[in-house]
Amino acid sequence: MWRFLLSRLLSAIPTMLAIITLAFMLLRAAPGGPFDAEKEIGAEVKAKIEHAYHLDEPLPKQYLRYLVQLAHGDLGPSFQYLDNSVNQYIAEGFPVDLKVGGFALLLACLVGIPLGARAAWRRNGLVDRVAAAVSLVGVSIPVYVAAPLMILVFAVTLQWFPAGDWGGGAWRYLVLPVVSLALPYIAYVTRIMRASFIDVLEQPYIRTARAKGLGTRDILFRHALRPALMPLAAFLGPAIVGAITGSIVVETTFGLPGIGRSFVEGAFNRDYTMVMGVTILYGALIIIANLVADVMQALLDPRVRLH
């Protein structure tokens, strides 16, 4: 197990290096620099600032300097908020993302797994039709449409939940962002679970379970759930990636203090270090997400060995 984790993390190094290099080169190829906008500062001051951040050095040197810095776990200073480092922004913003994204995926599983299971158990029944409608709506409405609509309905019209603030992370402020982010995942999880449950329920060992006189609950949750969860575990990698994407939109719409907003502002203001830092973080997250998916599959299926 530990050897597997170690070897997978080591094999992720070239990927990370590719991401870092690609992002670095692209950003440096961009016309204009982070301090172009400040017209009131003179050319001399600008040169001084650029010198302080080594922006006047040749590119290969800057690249190496950045890699060395990264190896020490330092993502550098933010170019738009000169007093803060990118590390600080991530340390403050990332927990918000983890909370919103984690709860959204959790909600998607809590709704999608039972819904998909019931839909598969009674195909073409009432639950199945509800599930089909839910997944059709969920996958065809992108988060940036769902999120404002949720505010319109539940915050403005019905006034059930607040929106447009973080409230220090109180649960009432979490409801709308989490639900908007979860909607497409509820749809995906329901679809995946329905299809995999239908497949599993046709397996001979389910017939055995029925011939043993087991009840519906035992058949569904003891015998069918584990095998049916396998495709969901494989979906976990892409799901985490998608939750990241969605969280950028959700943060902007609901005014949450996550890193997605810093990322977008950084892109807007040519804050190289911020954009680089967040891109690297997301890249690492995706590698870890895929690793978690593999481990989950091995935990679910006794025949899968990690190596």
Binding site: P204, K212, R303
Partner: protein, 270 residues
Amino acid sequence: MPAETDLLLQLRNLALTRADGLQVLQAINLDVQRGEIVAVVGESGSGKSQLLLSLLGLAMPGSKTGGSARFLDQELIGMGESQLRRLRGDRISMLFQDPMSALNPYLPLRIQLIEVLQAHRQIGSAQAQARALEALRTVHMPDPEQVLRQYPHELSGGMRQRAMLAMAILSEPDLLLADEPTTALDVTTQAVVLDLLLELRERLGMSILLVTHDLGVVARTADRAVILKDGQVVEQGSALQLLTAPSSAYGAQLLQAVRQLERPPAELDS
């Protein structure tokens, strides 16, 4: 002939129609006495397996059963799902053809064994486990304590079928439905499993309704046999009679085919 009160299962005019209207079984009449082994013989596609499944209400989805199947004093055809569930695995249990796919690969055998008991009676898991160990010993499973902890893929084919058998006799059923129980096994294991069926009949006094396409299995185990062709009974009688002097043309044909196959290496053992 056993007395009338020893009648365990009585099929009268049993019929099964598939969702698309195809008649899988027609007008099946068949009796199984207590302690008797009855073989249903026929080639694949003759509806034998569906016969067993329809008794438990597990025939393919959308199909309809008709006629009557009396088990002791209960009518199985048209019985409600919850009542059927109480019989399944408890009074009537089933042994499947391929133990590899019939066992759940995701669960250790301990769970797959003890859940049979827990589904039907109030029993603690320690007590259920003791019963499971006992059942594994009854089927001569080597190292049963170890097997309880293992998953199906960690066992050999013969051990898997023994585990299935242990699962089927755990609740000491009155009737065991065995669907081609030896087809997926190698020759030596086949013999072991068949001997085990005979032994279990003696020890537990249960009846076995056995489906097979293999006349060798019939010769080795069955008291009586029924020949099924295209979902209909073409002949029934004592196993000996069927194997020596079949009265129907189809029965003679089956026997002829087997003799031609088996004569050179060895005669049928009686």
